[in-house]
Amino acid sequence: MRRGAMMTDIQLDTGVMRPARGVGIVGYGAYLPRFRLPAAEVSRVWAEGSAGLPVQEKAVAGLDEDVATMSIEAARNAVARAGIESERIGAVWVGSESHPYAVKPTSTIVAEAIGAVPHTQAADWQFACKAGTEAMQAAIGFVGSGMADYAFAIGMDIAQARPGDALEYTAGAGGAAFLLGPADDAVAVIEGTHSFVTDTPDFWRRQYAKYPQHGQRFTGEPAYFRHITAAAERLMEAMDISPQDYAYAVFHQPNTKFPLRVGKQLGFTVAQLETGLLAPLIGNVYAGSALIGLTAVLDVAQPGDRVLLVSFGSGAGSDAFQLRVGERISACRESAPSTQDYVQRRTEIDYATYSRYRGKLTLE
């Protein structure tokens, strides 16, 4: 396939998914709660301060926040950047593993709050940490087929972790919202996407369980690294593109080390990775993790820049996307707070406050 091929090409044999009509991101928005729990606090309480720290600190949601409220914040930012009327949004899809309700959609709450109801589609998505990117792929199909002009894909989480578990150092809160629409209006055009999934039980949460379980080191090579590498390599091969052709690359970031290592293995430099690497300061925001890395990139990218985005969801799979930043990026950027605005908005809390905010204490 030639580089920069037209979006209208449909080449199923390469495994690259592309819609019949061109689709892009027409609006994007990030959201992070303001509270921060330093990883050293978790180590102080659970390991006498001796634990190795996978991140510097993580973002923690406040008492009155959940995936619905946070998704609304991010979606409003995206609508502001898109500059369209909310009634034109044909779908509101929220991917998360911490939907407030087991039965009752988050997406209708978000759709109502942003004014997209009632003549719209709404659904919740679930695939561990890649629920947001699968919603994005579905939105590409929805818009690309002409079933709607605009569709929302949101990845947002308040990650759960058992107190004292290795995950507690990183399990953070936050995410991003992307409004997908016709490529002509796009701040970034989707040039192609590919998914790679297998039945790999590296991390899970059973029905009614409060906290997830994980296979410790099994979550590394056989899960995270295998799936991200396979998805990224297949997409790059099919797009006939090399790592150095991208201005930026963003990978799912469960900690600081994994995305840097997988990026290096695939042939990317730290310079390509650091803009989208937020995990050291916000932790792992699960379904929002790769997506908020992308909003940080869009905040600074220049028209023509190519971006590689690869998520990872346990269970397991990776969605890889190639984007090309469009001319409209500069005009809409200032219409909403930047990702770094949220990263910098920081109120540090201690473990006791975190325990109260996140309901870690059993009160009766």
């Binding site: 001796s50 410790q216 080191r217 099994f218 056989p222």
Partner: protein
């Protein structure tokens, strides 16, 4: 030893040590057994001796003898599992030798196999800890690193040794593992990294501790030289298994690995050697302090002096007594009941001159010693490289 029936190593096989998430216990064993049988040009051994310590707990699989005989196309062959915690591999070798020397069989397959990654976390820790005294140690929460910590603390106290002075063991192991493609940890360490390592059970730190791992290793043994091809041969010169108290607190002196000492003395006597005639040793360096105590038990160092061999470089590949020549438990990895067989495969490769980048030049006599349950069981073998007639 009456030395009526001489036993030789006719072939070896082994897998990389590490995390074999995608492969089962039986497949892992086959990956070592196949090459060993092929190297020995043997279709079917008279008997199979399996060394394994964790399959019942971690893979919920017992009777590995029948399992492996069937899976490896050797259905009908006599086959049993030998278990002695971390010494299982050496104990399986010992049982194979006894059988060969009895004259009842002429060829034997010894295979050590361990699959720790069928479970993770506390399940593995508690399965491994079952090697200790269940009533008197395990019930008090004493896991393997905790027991090693008690011993190491006492060693440091009695012999006036500081933590940093143990660094040489891990540094040497990693230096040797660097050039062993089948080792688990192939990164270079220096003493600074060692000193900064996090504690597992103080004073035992992360770099004092060998990683639990998956792996399989196999040896084909023959009685007499009839089945051997011409060339450098490896003879089993000595074999001894001894025991000590299972619970460490029952020992008169926790700073003497009495079983290791007894089995080493017997083995050296069988081979007619003094300790300084051994060219290399694969010792049970599951914890740094175990390596120091093993050096002392085998007579390579005086009591309280074992750590000096690491500190002064004597254990390096070109030192006076190379140990952990492929990385040892610390860096090659510790596949439980397979470890003792790995040690024997490694010593065999050294004496046959096929150790490639890990070769100890001119090695003729090699010693392999594995321990079970913090030294409660010790198995020592001495192998000799001999030119064929």
């Amino acid at each position: 030893m009456s030395a009526v029936i001489e036993v030789f190593i006719a072939g070896t096989g082994h897998t990389a040590v590490g995390e074999h998430w995608g492969i089962s216990l039986r497949h892992l064993a086959w990956e070592a057994i196949g090459p060993a049988l092929q190297a020995a040009q043997l279709k079917k051994p008279d008997a199979i001796f399996v060394g394994n310590m964790l399959a019942a707990r971690i893979s919920e699989q017992q009777n590995l003898g029948a399992l492996l005989a069937d899976f490896c196309g050797l259905r009908g062959t006599e086959a049993v599992t030998v278990e002695a915690a971390g010494a299982s591999g050496g104990a399986a070798m010992r049982q194979a030798l006894l059988a060969l020397r009895s004259g009842e069989i002429r060829t034997a397959l010894v295979v050590g196999v361990e699959k720790t990654t069928d479970k993770v976390g506390a399940d593995v820790t508690s399965a491994v800890a079952a090697g200790a005294d269940s009533d008197w140690e395990l019930a008090q929460g004493a896991t393997a690193p905790a027991i090693a910590a008690l011993i190491m603390r006492r060693y440091m106290h009695e012999h006036g040794v500081h933590l940093e002075q143990f660094a040489g063991f891990a540094v040497n192991s990693h230096a040797n593992a660097c050039v062993n493609a089948d080792a688990m940890f192939r990164n270079v360490l220096d003493a600074t990294r060692y000193a900064q390592a996090g504690m597992v059970a103080s004073p035992v730190n992360v770099l004092d501790s060998a990683p639990d791992a998956d792996g399989a290793a196999a040896l084909v043994l023959t009685a007499g030289t009839g089945q051997l091809r011409p060339g450098l041969r490896v003879r089993v010169a000595a074999s001894s298994l001894a025991t000590d108290t299972l619970a460490v607190h029952d020992r008169r002196d926790v700073l003497v690995f009495a079983a290791a000492k007894l089995s080493a003395q017997r083995a050296l006597q069988q081979a007619g050697l003094a300790p300084d005639q051994i060219d290399l040793a694969e010792l049970y360096d599951r914890f740094s302090v175990f390596a120091a105590l093993s050096l002392e038990a085998c007579g390579f160092a005086q009591r309280g002096e074992g750590w000096r061999l690491a500190a002064n470089g004597a254990i390096g590949r070109s030192g006076r007594l190379p140990i952990s020549t492929f990385g040892g438990l610390k860096a090659r990895g510790n596949p439980g009941g397979a470890t003792g067989v790995y040690q024997l495969v490694e010593v065999t490769r050294q004496l046959a001159g096929t150790a490639e980048a890990n070769q100890v030049v001119g090695a003729k006599w090699g010693l392999a010693q594995c321990l079970g349950s913090s030294g409660a069981t010790a198995v020592t073998h001495i192998l000799q490289g001999v030119e064929s007639n």
